[in-house]
Symmetry: C2
């Protein structure tokens, strides 16, 4: 059964699921949901019937609807084991999940479209909003850099030599960082992994400018081989 993914080209949560689907080589149809136009298509009643959170992504498999990017990715990993997106040992799996959640729970939610909209209403000014945006990214990336800089589990990718759940979360978050013109030089371990990922079709094809609803290009130049 063909999968359908409600997605927005710049949504990093949707971007994660696109990478996972590509890594698994699963066929899927992208249903664009424009998060900004007319207050956001995700706010419609029709979309809310499928995802009461009014957020992307949403995966449809026949009559089944699954939301929350990490729940979708764990699901994909359970229904199609190869290639695995999580390592085998319970300790390594915990480590990988914790790093993924460092991004998905502690960086990204703070910088969601709906939060930035709320901050706009608070009338704190554009500059303070930009500082807010970069603050949470910098805090989170600094912690990730510290965790990955000298860890023996790191290989070509975050956990070993195959891409997995952390890479899937890291790349979209770094797209946001690069797009906001942040200085990424404090994160050499993360940027090395980023460039490794961006050599792979699964990541390239999931990225901003490759989307059918794209309105701009990727913030990072394609890596030179």
């Amino acid at each position: 059964m063909k999968l359908k993914l409600s997605s927005y080209w710049r949504s990093s949560a949707a971007f994660r699921v696109r990478i996972a689907l590509n890594l698994k080589d699963m066929e899927y149809e992208v249903i664009p949901v424009h998060l900004l136009k007319n207050g956001g298509e995700q706010m419609s009643n029709a979309y809310g019937e499928k995802n009461p959170n009014h957020l992307v992504p949403l995966l449809e498999e026949g009559d089944h609807h699954i939301h929350q990017s990490l729940a979708i990715i764990e699901y994909l990993d359970e229904i199609q084991a190869e290639p695995p997106l999580l390592p085998k040992s319970a300790l390594d799996r915990a480590w990988v999940r914790s790093l993924a959640m460092d991004i998905a729970c502690d960086i990204h939610p703070m910088n969601n479209v709906r939060v930035l909209r709320y901050l706009k209403k608070l009338d704190i000014g554009n500059e303070a909003r930009d500082v807010w945006y970069q603050h949470w990214i910098q805090l989170g990336l600094a912690s990730l850099e510290k965790q990955l800089a000298n860890d023996q589990r790191v290989g070509r990718f975050t956990c070993g030599d195959e891409p997995g759940l952390v890479d899937i979360c890291l790349v979209p978050q770094l797209f946001n960082a690069l797009s906001s013109k942040m200085d990424v030089s404090p994160y050499p371990a993360l940027m090395r992994i980023f460039h490794e990922c961006m050599k792979l079709p699964a990541f390239i094809d999931a990225s901003w400018e490759k989307q059918i609803d794209a309105e701009g290009s990727n913030p990072a130049a394609p890596p030179q081989e």
Copy 2:
């Protein structure tokens, strides 16, 4: 090997892990980390060595450190299968994970101590901060109520008749809601599950007033049998 849990009595992420450990009947030592005193004990260098995110909870098992509450709970469920905290089928697991993440990714991070501190610096006033706090809870609980009100998978607890991952996340979030004097009458399905949970020692023993570092009582009266 005895587990150690860095915890703060009111932290809902730590509260989740306490419930999970209790449901699994695993022995653990609580190491209190005061999140508010002197800018927060979690900000110390010594704590940062163990958890570079400077957040609670942190689980220590010998030399191994695991952070992020949901990663810890999945780990506990993998190393000790009984009682299971997640259902068996991949679709049900995805559903449970998505509901847990609705809380852990889309409600709670917005109302973390560090976010409330940041808002204080923005000088938007106490009232606007309270409105912010309740806004994200109301938005998230309304979505959860809609998802659980008529779902056939709901039993005595969120997924069937045994407590699991969603209940573990829901109860601490409702403690926060009750403590902030929010009107919880729009969430009858959630409150029914809450009261079922609060009949169980695993939830009662994990709750605010039962902690060795408690400075106050539970915001909900203990349920009458």
